[in-house]
């Protein structure tokens, strides 16, 4: 079981959350070229190690959470309220 320490609800099983993928800055839709936009849509760092990602607490507070997780061990070391546009 993977525990995610939701900043709003406390530690909860990851199965309560929906994984939304790596946290990445979105290019300005008005100015991005099609290639830049597609790269944003499709390409991922997909690291084997620590990564910052967004999870949605769908069976809890229904808020977005930014989580630091190790992709090999699934250890979670930090979860904070997601800021920005999401």
């Amino acid at each position: 079981m993977i525990l995610i320490p939701c900043p709003h609800c406390g530690p909860r099983n990851a199965s309560e959350f929906a994984w939304k993928g790596e946290h990445r800055p979105r290019p300005d839709p008005a100015r991005a070229s099609p290639a830049e936009w597609r790269s944003y849509l499709y390409h991922r760092a997909n690291p084997c190690g620590w990564t910052t990602e967004v999870w949605f607490h769908r069976a809890g507070c229904r808020r977005y959470v930014t989580v630091e997780r190790h992709t090999l061990t699934n250890e979670v070391r930090r979860a904070v309220p997601a800021g920005g546009e999401r």
Binding site: M1, R44, T51, T71, N74
Partner: protein
């Protein structure tokens, strides 16, 4: 994990191990006669040594007690190769085999950081089918299925190809519509695939609950008679043995740590066993595609997710066809040993962890029971996990990259095993001729930047 049990330091072929046991047991009984026959056989010379597996060879080895030749050899790592293939799974070994056999490119090294067939090729449920959604997908997987049908004879190694039929169940009108579409695409490409009703499902899968009482009643199915199962370990071993016989070097326990380039050209690889120079590096990895591409600074549209599976205790024949339900997110088949193999979709987040989870066990058991309530008394024997590299359109990434000499055959998601033979043939042609075979042209890396996705989601995304 349980399927991947042999240590890479002692690789032996299927028959090789059996021969050795026989050697030990029979050595006292037939010593004098065996020794005499052995001398005769040695006198006849190396050239007559049975390379091929056959009933005659089995008898000869049994009588003489002579050990079988290892199915593949160990080598010191050379300094130069015409091509280096990363990953000794079905794709890497098939590519090496076809390079050597079809194109005479034999100075080839297949490197694997673990042991042969120990990655996803050793963790697959071994299901093969070809009635995909896109014409590109149907053509490709159909080629592969046909190659699987001929593989035992071609490799002189029984891969236990069993076209026992493949059923994708529909529990809604929307699923039936998608299946009619898939059936038409298949028919257009000569692949047998048709929509059948609940009565036919009942006939093909007596175990299934086809009643209207089910929570998700079965409304029909896409039936694909030529789909079925293949023994995955045998495919790995068969390709390895055939490639080895053609001069290909297989290096297990050899991890690629870096890929060196000069300008935009590949010049070699650094491994834990030393440096190798080569103009061509082919990434045939599943689970590590992003990490290998990172070595040449190439970003990939890939997410790595674990795919879990489980088997029950072995029982008598219960289930003939392979049964898949996207709605219930479950896949069930029965092995030749009698175990039910249970699968589902990959875990719902990116991870390189190959640990099984209780969530999977609970969910897959619950879904199987919805589909086949009568298997409730059966016990689970084991579960394991493998890594899948998943692309945005669930089609693979094959072909050249912006880095000259760095080629990829990756991103197969949950479909890699069934694509192995055709991918090996196509990648070998690309390496040898520098021309992209028409069969794989649509699966190039550039399609993501150019917006030409080969959307396979409605077929390949179904839990399996």
């Amino acid at each position: 994990m349980a399927l991947a049990s042999s240590a890479w330091t002692e690789p032996t072929g299927f028959t090789g191990t059996g021969g050795r046991e026989k050697d030990g047991v029979g050595s006292t009984k037939a010593e004098s006669r065996g020794a005499r026959l052995g001398r005769v056989a040695r006198a006849v010379g190396e050239a007559t040594r049975p390379r091929r597996y056959s009933a005659g060879a089995l008898v000869a080895h049994g009588v003489t007690g002579r050990p079988w030749r290892p199915a593949w050899r160990h080598h010191e790592l050379g300094s130069t190769y015409d091509a280096v293939i990363v990953g000794a799974g079905v794709h890497g070994l098939a590519t090496a085999y076809h390079l050597a056999r079809d194109h005479g490119v034999r100075k080839v090294a297949v490197l694997d950081k673990g042991y042969l067939g120990g990655g996803s090729s050793g963790r697959t449920s071994g299901i093969v089918w070809s009635n995909y959604l896109t014409p590109e997908g149907v053509r490709f997987y159909d080629r592969s299925l046909r190659l699987y049908g001929e593989l035992s004879g071609e490799l002189n190694f029984n891969v236990m190809f069993s076209p026992r039929g493949h059923l994708t169940l529909a529990h809604s009108d929307a699923s039936l519509r998608a299946m009619r579409w898939r059936a038409e695409v298949s028919k257009l490409h000569g692949v047998d695939s048709e929509v059948v009703g609940p009565e036919e499902v009942r006939r093909l899968v007596p175990l299934a609950d086809v009643s209207s009482r089910a929570r998700y009643p079965i409304m029909g199915a896409l039936y694909h008679p030529s789909g079925g199962t293949v023994r995955h370990d045998a495919v790995n071993w068969g390709y390895a043995r055939a490639a080895d016989a053609l001069g290909v070097e297989i290096h297990q326990g050899t991890e690629v740590l870096a890929i060196s380039t000069a300008g935009d050209r590949v010049t070699g690889v650094t491994t834990n066993r030393g440096e190798v120079s080569t103009p061509v590096v082919v990434s045939c990895t599943a689970g590590w595609a992003s990490l290998v591409s990172d070595m040449v600074g190439l970003s990939m549209p890939i997410i790595t997710r674990p795919l879990q599976a489980a088997v029950t205790e072995p029982v008598q024949v219960l289930l003939d066809a392979v049964v898949v339900s996207g709605t219930l997110d479950v896949q069930v088949s029965q092995t030749d040993r009698g175990e039910l193999v249970l699968g589902a979709s990959p875990d719902p987040f990116a991870s390189y962890s190959m640990r099984g989870s209780l969530e999977f066990t609970e969910e897959v058991a619950g879904r199987v029971l919805q589909l086949m309530p009568s298997v409730a008394p059966m016990r689970l024997l084991r579960q394991w996990s493998g890594l899948c590299d998943i692309t945005p359109d669930l089609s693979p990434i094959m072909g050249p990259t912006p880095v000259e000499g760095f080629l990829v055959d990756v991103g197969w998601g949950t479909n890699g095993f069934m694509a192995g033979p055709a991918a090996g043939q196509a990648m070998a042609e690309l390496v040898a001729t520098s021309r992209t075979p028409e069969l794989m042209a649509a699966f190039d890396l550039a399609r993501f930047a150019e917006g030409r996705l080969v959307e396979e989601r409605d077929a390949a995304g179904v839990g399996h």
